[in-house]
Amino acid sequence: MEETVTTSTDPSEGSGDIRYIDTEIRLKLYRTMYECRVLEQRAYDLFMQNLVKGTSHLALGQEAIAAGFGVAMRQDDYTFCTYRGHTHTYVRGVSMESILGELMGRECGLLRGKGGSMHLTSVEHGAMGSYAIIGAHLPVAAGAAWSAQYRGTGQVTVCFFGDGTTNIGAFHEALNFAVIWKLPVVFVCENNLYMEYTAIKDVTAVENPAADRAEAYGLEPILIDGNDVDVVYEAAGVALDKARKGGGPSLIEAKTYRHGGHSRADPGKYRPDEELQGWLARDPIPTYRERLISLGIEDESLEAIESETDAAIDAATEVARNSPPPPVDIAHIDVWADGSASWRN
C-alpha cells in the first residue's frame, strides 16, 4: 500500500514532497506517540498527586520527535537526551513502570531513585543518559559516535536538545568537532519556541537557532515540522542512513511546541493564548490519527492501540506506586566501578 506524506521546509505550511511510508511503520509511529502521550500525561497526574518530588519536565506536544526517531533507529544505536527525556528514553524500549518508578523515587525505578526524572538512562537499550545541564551531552554524544566509528560498528548516535541549547558554548564545540571528525551523529534540535520562560527569539541572533547555524559548521540546514511524525521519521531515516554510511553528522531543527509549562512549577502563562491555541490545534497525535483514518486505516486498529496503551499505563502505574522506596544502603554505593564509594583506606 502506497501512501503520501507531506513535508516542507517551512514547517508552518503543510505541502511538499510526497513519500511512501509503510502502514506497519505508520501504526508503530502512532502507537509510539500515543504511548509517549499517556506516559507524560500520567507523569503529570502523579505530580498533581504529589507522588513525584523534585522537578520534572514533560514533552507533552512534542511526542512526534521522539517517536519518529525511536521508530527509525537501529536497536544498537545510541541516544542522548535532556531532562525533558522521558519519551526519548521510553522509545528505546524502556518500560513504563521503570520510568514512572524513577520519577516517584521507587525501588522499581530505572535508577532506583539515584538519578530522578532528569537523568533517565538505560544503557541496555542504548539510552545513554538524560543530561540536566544545558549543552553537556552534545560533546558526549560526539564521543559515543567517535567510539562507534573507531570500533566500526555502524552504530549511529542521536542527540536531542532544545532551542535554548543552541546558544551555549558546548553546542558550538560539539558541532564543529563532529563535522571535522565526520562522526556518525545526528543532532536534533527540538525547537519548542521557549527556553524556560523566555522565548528563544528574544535572545537569539538568528530566526532558526539551529538551522540558520548549520552552515557555520559546513552542514546543510534542515528545518522540519516536528509535529508531523511522518516528516520526522523520514528526516531521521535520511540522517541515520547518511551517518551510518560514513557521511558524517547532520543537524536537524524540528519545530514543535510544548503543551504545558517548562517544568512542574510552571503554568506557562508567558505564552500568548493565540499561539498556544494554534499549536494545540496542530497536536501531533490527533492530527496523525486523522491522517491515518483518511489513508484508510480502520478506526478499530487505532482504538485497539489506544486501549492497550491505556491499560498498560494503568498497570505500570500500579507497579510503580506499589514499589517500595529504594533501600537506603544504595545511597552509599556505586560511586566507583568496584561498587564502593570509598575514597580512602
Partner: protein
C-alpha cells in the same frame, strides 16, 4: 522588623541597592519578565526597567563575562547563575579571569560584582542541581564567598556584597527560600566577614553554614535537652573573608570543635577551619576536631536517599555526643 521569606529578602536586597546606585545592573536567565525561576527577583523589571534588569540567553560564559567586563568599566553588575552547579560551565570566567585579574594587573582593575546562585540540596533535584559548591569558590584566591542562613542575612549581606569593591560569590540555599524570618525595616547592610554566634554554649563549638545552621541549632537543642550538653553554634556566614577570630575565641572557650558541612566530604571549608584550629588552638583543645559532612558522594534524588546522605540533626547530635563522652 518585617517578616520576609529568604526568597523575598533577595529581591529586597537587590532593590535596596539598585535604588541607591544607578550603576547597579542585573542580568541572568529568566530573571526579568519571569522574576527568576525561584521567584527571587519578582518586580525588579517593573521597578527598574529593561535597561537594568536583563534576560539573557542560556550562555553562562557570556553572562559572567559580561558582568566582568561591565564591572571593570564602571558598573556594579549582579549576575544570576540559576543553579550553582552551572558555575561549572563558566568556571574559567569566575576562577581564572574575575578572581585573578586585579592581582595580575598590579591592582589596575576592580571587579565590583556579585554572582548570585541557588546552592545546595534537599530539594530532590538530583546530583546536578543540588551541589554545595561554596568550596569551589573558597579554594580560588580572589573571590569572596558568602552563604547566608536566614532572611535578614540575605538582605544585609547581599547589600554589602553589592557595595563591596571585590567580586563576591553569593550562595543562596534553595531549600531555605520559603523560610520566613525577621528582617530589619529600612536600609539594612550587614558587613562581610563577621561570623554570628547564633546560640551560646560552653561544652562544644559547632560551626555551620547556610542550611546547616538550622540543623545545627536543632541538634543543639536536642543536645541540651536530652544529653545536657551545652553547644555553641556559630553561623559562619562568610567563608571569605573568614572570621577566624570569632570561631577561635569560641573554640578556646569550649575546647571542642565540630563543623557541619553540606558539601561532599573532601576539602570543604570545614577542613580548612579544622586545620586552622588544629594549628592555632591545638593546646586549648579538649578533644579531636570532628567534621560532619555529606559523604563524598553525589546527591541522589529520591527522598529517602537524599535524606540519608545530608547531615541531619540526629547525625550532628551523634557526633557531638561521641566527642564529649
Amino acid at each position: 522588623m518585617a517578616q520576609l521569606t529568604y526568597r523575598e529578602a533577595v529581591g529586597e536586597g537587590i532593590a535596596q541597592e539598585m535604588r541607591r546606585d544607578s550603576n547597579v545592573v542585573f542580568l541572568g536567565e529568566d530573571v526579568a519578565a519571569a522574576g527568576g525561576v525561584f521567584k527571587t527577583t519578582v518586580g525588579l523589571l517593573e521597578e527598574f526597567g529593561p535597561d537594568r534588569i536583563r534576560d539573557t540567553p542560556i550562555s553562562e560564559q557570556a553572562i559572567i563575562g559580561a558582568a566582568m567586563g561591565a564591572s571593570m568599566t564602571g558598573l556594579r553588575p549582579i549576575a544570576e547563575i540559576m543553579f550553582s552547579d552551572f558555575f561549572a560551565v563558566c568556571w574559567d570566567l569566575v576562577a581564572n579571569q574575575i578572581a585573578k585579574t586585579r592581582y595580575m594587573t598590579d591592582g589596575q582593575c576592580s571587579f565590583p560584582l556579585v554572582l548570585r546562585s541557588a546552592n545546595g540540596g534537599g530539594s530532590r533535584f538530583g546530583a546536578q542541581h543540588s551541589q554545595s559548591i561554596e568550596n569551589w569558590a573558597m579554594a580560588v584566591p580572589g573571590l569572596k564567598v558568602v552563604a547566608p542562613s536566614n532572611a535578614a542575612d540575605v538582605k544585609g549581606l547581599l547589600a554589602a556584597s553589592i557595595r563591596d569593591p571585590d567580586p563576591v560569590m553569593f550562595f543562596e540555599q534553595k531549600s531555605l527560600y520559603a523560610i520566613k524570618g525577621e528582617v530589619p525595616e529600612g536600609e539594612h547592610v550587614e558587613p562581610l566577614g563577621v561570623a554570628n554566634i547564633v546560640r551560646s554554649g560552653t561544652d562544644v563549638t559547632i560551626g555551620a553554614l547556610a542550611a546547616m545552621v538550622p540543623r545545627a541549632l536543632k541538634a543543639a537543642e536536642a543536645l541540651q535537652n536530652e544529653h545536657g550538653v551545652s553547644a555553641e553554634v556559630v553561623d559562619v556566614r562568610c567563608l571569605v573573608p573568614l572570621d577566624t577570630q570569632t570561631i577561635l575565641e569560641s573554640v578556646a572557650r569550649t575546647g571542642r570543635f565540630v563543623t557541619v558541612e553540606e558539601n561532599p566530604r573532601l576539602c570543604g571549608w570545614g577542613a580548612e577551619l579544622a586545620s586552622i584550629v588544629a594549628e592555632e588552638l591545638f593546646w586549648d583543645l579538649d578533644g579531636p576536631i570532628v567534621r560532619v559532612t555529606t559523604p563524598h558522594i553525589p546527591l541522589p534524588s529520591a527522598d529517602e536517599l537524599e535524606d540519608a546522605l545530608m547531615p541531619s540533626p540526629e547525625r550532628i547530635v551523634e557526633s557531638v555526643k561521641h566527642l564529649v563522652d
